[in-house]
């Protein structure tokens, strides 16, 4: 009787646990390791391909032209834009395969987490793309505003250009946060209030405080003569 008790209470559960552990290790854990290994190889391949394609397309020069290169250096990032993009591609692929590998473990709470990550990843990627595009557009508009303001001899041209860039970045950040679903209501409310306030302030300044300036600018434009105040000369 003592042998039966020992066997059924201690040894049998131990045997079952050992079987389950061995099954887990040999099947699920091994599958996870294989998926991770494939992921590392795929990530390296993605890094090489992305780097090659971007180098052929002249991505570094494009970024230099639009001020992205200088911004990266200012942020202390020693990598060039192509190298950085290749590294981002590496880690993106790595993250995807990491998620796959967690799914290969087949643990119930983990499966739930994996499915949530799968839904969130594309939104995160879209938000990153929005931020990058918004930054490039912000720099472009900032430079265009600066050049137009200087050529029109407007005072505080740099401040005006900076304000344009800040507005674009604010708009972009709001779009990115909205994309990933972080603080949707707060972002919407704050954005509306900020934009509305800026618009009202500009309208008051231009329409009331600077109405004489506005009148003289409009008169000059509509009269068609010496619009830029350079005199009655023909440059060509």
């Amino acid at each position: 009787m003592s042998d039966n008790f020992w066997d059924s209470t201690i040894l049998e559960p131990l045997r079952r646990f050992t079987d389950q552990a061995l099954t887990f290790l040999l099947h699920n854990f091994l599958a996870m390791l294989v998926v991770l290994l494939v992921g590392v190889l795929a990530a390296y391949a993605a890094r090489v391909v992305v780097g090659l394609v971007l180098r052929v397309l002249g991505f570094d020069r494009f970024c230099e032209r639009h001020g992205v290169g200088a911004t990266l250096q200012g942020a202390g990032i020693a990598l060039g834009p192509t190298a950085l993009a290749a590294r981002v591609a590496f880690w993106l692929v790595m993250m995807v395969f990491l998620v796959f590998s967690l799914a290969a473990l087949n643990i119930a709470p983990m499966n739930d987490l994996v499915s949530r990550l799968f839904i969130f990843l594309p939104q995160l990627l879209a938000a990153v793309v929005i931020l990058v595009l918004g930054y490039v557009v912000g720099i472009f508009l900032q430079r265009a505003t600066l050049l137009a303001a200087v050529n029109a001899a407007l005072p505080r041209a740099r401040a005006l250009a900076g304000a344009v860039q800040a507005l674009v970045l604010l708009f972009t950040a709001a779009m990115a946060l909205e994309q990933v679903g972080i603080g949707r209501n707060i972002v919407l409310a704050a954005f509306s209030v900020a934009f509305g306030s800026v618009g009202l302030a500009v309208a008051l300044a231009f329409g009331y405080a600077a109405r004489d300036l506005a009148r003289s600018v409009l008169e000059r434009h509509l009269s068609g003569a010496d619009r830029e105040g350079l005199g009655e000369i023909s440059h060509l």
């Binding site: 020069r61 230099e64 032209r65 639009h66 472009f140 430079r143 265009a144 600066l146 050049l147 137009a148 200087v150 050529n151 001899a153 041209a157 740099r158 068609g224 003569a225 010496d226 619009r227 830029e228 105040g229 350079l230 005199g231 009655e232 000369i233 023909s234 440059h235 060509l236």
Partner: protein, 418 residues
Amino acid sequence: MADDLIGADVSRELGRIGRAEIVVGVASGNSARTIRQVLEAAAGALSSYYPGASGVIVTADGGSRDGTLEAARGAATGPWPAVVVAPPDGSAADRVLAGKGGGLRAILAVAELVDARACALLDADVSGTGGEWLQRLLDPVVREGLDLVAPVYARHRYDGMLTSFLVYPLTRALYGRRVRQPVGGHFGLSGALARRLLTAGAWEGSAGRYSRDLWMTTTALADGMSVGQANLGTGRRGPRDSGAALGSTFAKVVGTAFALMESYRPAWWSVVETEAVPTFGAPSAVGVEPVSVNVDRMIATFRQGLADLVPVWRKALAPETCAALADLAADPPEPVRFPAELWAQVVYDGAVAHHLRLLPRDHLLRALIPLYLGRAAAFVMGTASADAGTADAEIEAQGTAFESTKPYLLDRWDGRRP
């Protein structure tokens, strides 16, 4: 292609006319005030100076809405056949004739169709076009065999500073011939050049009249054709064209000059010396009208550029150019100083930046405007109390500076030297 450009009706009419040795083409665009006078003066000049020749007068309209077509059709051209080419609504010609730049293509098409030996291009907006203008533009082509005759107008020293300080010296240094006003408005062309231009590319796109003039002159120079210039006296456009914003004019003309450098690189790369081109007709003895120049505004824009645009200039201009501009920023507010060699360096840096696309091209061109205004202001202040000879000497010195600085351009062009 001719029917697309000039319409089937005009094509048939020209077929009835047959061959014509001389084509006088007038590109019009909302020119009702002056078109009739220009056409009648052209007809009078043909009768006076080329009575035995066959000719046709062409008005190529770019979509006027002020009655230009009616005025053109009502012009009394005497024995000289006159045709009016206008874009019919909704036709393919509507696209190619848009603007005065498009009218040029139609005129060249007519010249090819009638196998013209010489073609005169007149600007419908220029009042005071006398018959002698036409003779001075056509005689070098008809009697001397030149391919292109550019105009030389007697102008106030402060008129046309973009031509005097950029277009002229750049064209001179690159293509080796000193055509004083490459963007003229009135030209004389040979039939050979007309055919060459018609078959060249660059007809699509939004290049305006000024760009087309520069393109014509540059093509003739780069192709090694014989080029001369004719003194036409004082020529005034209807309203002063200072209404045209400097920004868009500068971007179009300078952008065209830089773009043509890419197309014609083999032609200008090895040019070392320049030569004068034959000039016909005596310079005008009549004084030019004074013009008002707001030099304070020019200086203000220049100084503001020196303060605010350095980060943009650093992307486009060479480090030594930026350093030299920083020296100018340290100067006292007046008088404004802008050495001719430094200006040549700035323009060449701009051309290189345009070629290598170091910045979006529109941004690059607009970033150069404050520097142009600085150079112009320095000229105005330096010649305020000088005579015309001194002013002309300074313009020629600018041309010499472009020539002597050309090795710098060759060094930087392919991006080998930063």
